[in-house]
Amino acid sequence: MNLFRKNWTPSEADEWTVHDLVASILGVLAFFLGTIGVIGAFLFQLWGFVCLVVAGALTILMYRVIDPKLRAMSEAFEEKQQEYLDDLERTVRWESRDGH
């Protein structure tokens, strides 16, 4: 499995894969390290700066893992969006809930 896969078909991008899981974990770690990193850096503690650098690196990594997949999914979905929006207005109408 290639974590840094660049080419996705729309139907492949629609599926949940390990890329979503990895991006979520990297994102949370970046948030965690960023939160304590800013505190440490403002107090001029070495660990604070280290945390901030690692948080930045994780953010870049997360972007590289998830962006190609998000792009493929978005482009395919946006092409159908207007059709979906028209359908949405019909689906959620109060009078037509039972098809009347």
Partner: protein, 538 residues
């Protein structure tokens, strides 16, 4: 209410800064008048066409309110920097960006209430939509009220104005551009307000740190005071315990679980609702994901900047016992230590912080009242012009209600800790289940809401107040409420029918949710609506 007055003197230059900033903020919103009035979608979602950085700034700006430095400052002053984990629940956005944000954006629902009627079917879905719409109309009014109450408190502190003046004045200023330009005004004003507030927050906090002796001075003074534990975010009072005055590892773990697993759900936190509006206003799924991720990250970094400033405040004023006094710590750093002429910039920053939050909740409350109540139930044939007009009237209604509530509120910190997570404890798991499990139905979710509202008030406030139940630490309250409410919604799930299959298939094909959707997926494949699965993990 206990009030503190600063005796701060505003110079002519300070007033010039303040007036210029206020004018800039109003103009930034009002000039989008023509875009806002085009349609319901423009008035409430800016036409669903925004690049990620606009809703991202808005997420950050919205969640930077006048009460935020009070309750985060209060938590840090009381608990040391380990108090930073209380607002860490905002990290749900890191997971949500790639899970629930993606699912919600694909549903195209204008609001969370509308999403309920896409996810569920039948009478239960309608009841849930009506309930959430009413609840959100009230909650947004409530949020405007509490941030306006915080603004009133600041104005008493600064100018010794009567409380009602601060509560009403700046919120009314904000209403001008929300009424005129709707969400277009909100998002554009949020962009410049977000930038102003980030600069001002950093500037004032750095100034406060310097006033406290600089980074090394703070570290030394904390050691001298025997308070160096305050710098350690992982300083816990043991693994677990029942003392409400202690911060246990289990408190931290509970907050961490809430923050991470919570990102799978929709509606677990009250922050979800404004975020849902920002998600749908983004021009694509990708833009929505990055907007939520970046906005959440900025909010957490801001909390950390405040935390250090409050450490500085503690060093300067170490023995304050009154919560009402120490929760004003960050404001005192600015007003007591900035040079003349800069105080006006600081106050303008506070106004930016206030307006960005109020504008969002005015427009969001009006969205629920207009789209989910008026348009859905009262007048489904309403023209776009009529819907925009009703949206404006609903904005006025929210404003008036918020003023009435805001004039009656007392302590900020205790309200917020209750409202932000305890109140949501019982629906935390159901809010995830509704996203990840096809069999979870509308009756189960509705029952969890009702049970949670009753039980959270009883367990957290009413029974301890009457001496019938012990006062428990936050982590116990959270899991206890989660368990008690599950005694209601789990039986309801299995005793009631699942949602209509056609409805679930339609929802699945459009939103492609994560989790336990096997039977629905198989049916969608059987009908040829989606390709048979090969390598996915659904």
């Amino acid at each position: 209410m206990e009030q503190v007055h600063s005796g701060v003197e505003f110079t002519a230059l300070d007033w010039v800064w303040t007036i210029l900033f206020v004018l800039l903020m109003i103009v930034c919103g009002v000039i989008f008048y023509r875009l806002g009035k085009r349609s319901e979608s423009d008035f409430f979602l800016a036409g669903r066409g925004l690049p990620w950085w606009l809703p991202a700034t808005s997420v950050y700006a919205t969640h930077t309110a006048t009460d935020t430095p009070m309750w985060i400052g209060g938590a840090i002053y009381h608990w040391g920097v380990r108090g930073i984990w209380f607002p860490f629940f905002a990290a749900w956005t890191a997971v949500s960006a790639f899970v629930s944000t993606r699912i919600f954006r694909r549903s195209l629902a204008m609001s969370q209430a509308e999403w309920q009627s896409l996810r569920y079917s039948g009478l239960g879905a309608e009841l849930l939509r009506g309930w959430l719409a009413g609840w959100q109309t009230f909650m947004n009014m409530f949020v405007i009220a509490w941030v306006s109450a915080a603004m009133g408190k600041i104005c008493v502190y600064l100018f010794d104005w009567p409380n009602w003046v601060g509560v009403i004045l700046f919120t009314s200023v904000c209403a001008v551009y929300v009424l005129v330009a709707g969400y277009w005004g909100v998002i554009m004003a949020d962009f410049q307000q977000g930038i102003i507030s980030f600069i001002v927050i950093t500037l004032v906090s750095v100034w406060g740190v310097v006033a406290a002796g600089g980074p090394s001075g703070i570290v030394e003074k904390l050691e001298t005071l025997g308070q160096s534990w305050r710098m350690n975010p992982f300083h816990f009072d043991g693994f677990w315990g029942l003392d409400t005055n202690c911060f246990y590892t289990l408190d931290f773990l509970t907050l961490l679980i809430m923050a991470t697993v919570g990102g799978l759900g929709m509606g677990n936190f009250i922050d979800w609702y404004p975020e849902a509006q920002r998600i749908q206003s983004a021009r694509s799924v990708r833009d929505a994901s990055y907007a939520i991720w970046a906005g959440g990250f900025l909010s957490l970094l801001r909390n950390s900047v405040w935390a250090v400033a409050i450490l500085g405040f503690f060093v300067l004023y170490p023995n304050i016992q009154s919560e009402a006094e120490y929760e004003m710590g960050w404001f005192r750093l600015g007003f007591e230590h900035l040079p003349a002429g800069m105080v006006g910039v600081f106050f303008a920053g506070i106004i930016a912080i206030h307006l960005s939050t109020v504008s969002t909740h005015l427009n969001l409350g009006a969205l629920y009242a207009t789209r989910d109540l008026y348009h859905h139930y009262v007048n489904p044939e309403a023209s776009q012009a009529k819907l925009v007009r009703v949206g404006r009237w609903n904005t006025v209604f929210l404003l008036a209600g918020a003023f009435l509530l805001g004039l009656t509120m007392q302590s900020i910190t205790s309200w917020l800790i209750f409202a932000l997570w305890l109140q949501a404890a019982g629906i935390w798991i159901p809010s995830i289940l509704q996203v990840v499990w096809w069999r979870f139905n509308s009756w189960a979710y509705l029952s969890s809401w009702i049970a949670n509202l009753l039980m959270s008030w009883l367990v957290v406030w009413v029974l301890p107040e009457l001496g019938l139940f012990p006062e428990l630490p936050n982590w116990v309250n959270f899991w206890l409420l989660a368990f008690l409410v599950s005694l209601v919604y789990v039986p309801v799930t299995f005793l009631t029918k699942s949602d209509d299959l056609d409805h679930l298939v339609r929802y699945y094909v459009m939103s492609r949710p994560l989790g336990f959707w096997g039977p629905i997926r198989q049916e969608a494949e059987r009908r040829g609506l989606i390709a048979a699965q090969e390598g996915g993990t659904n």
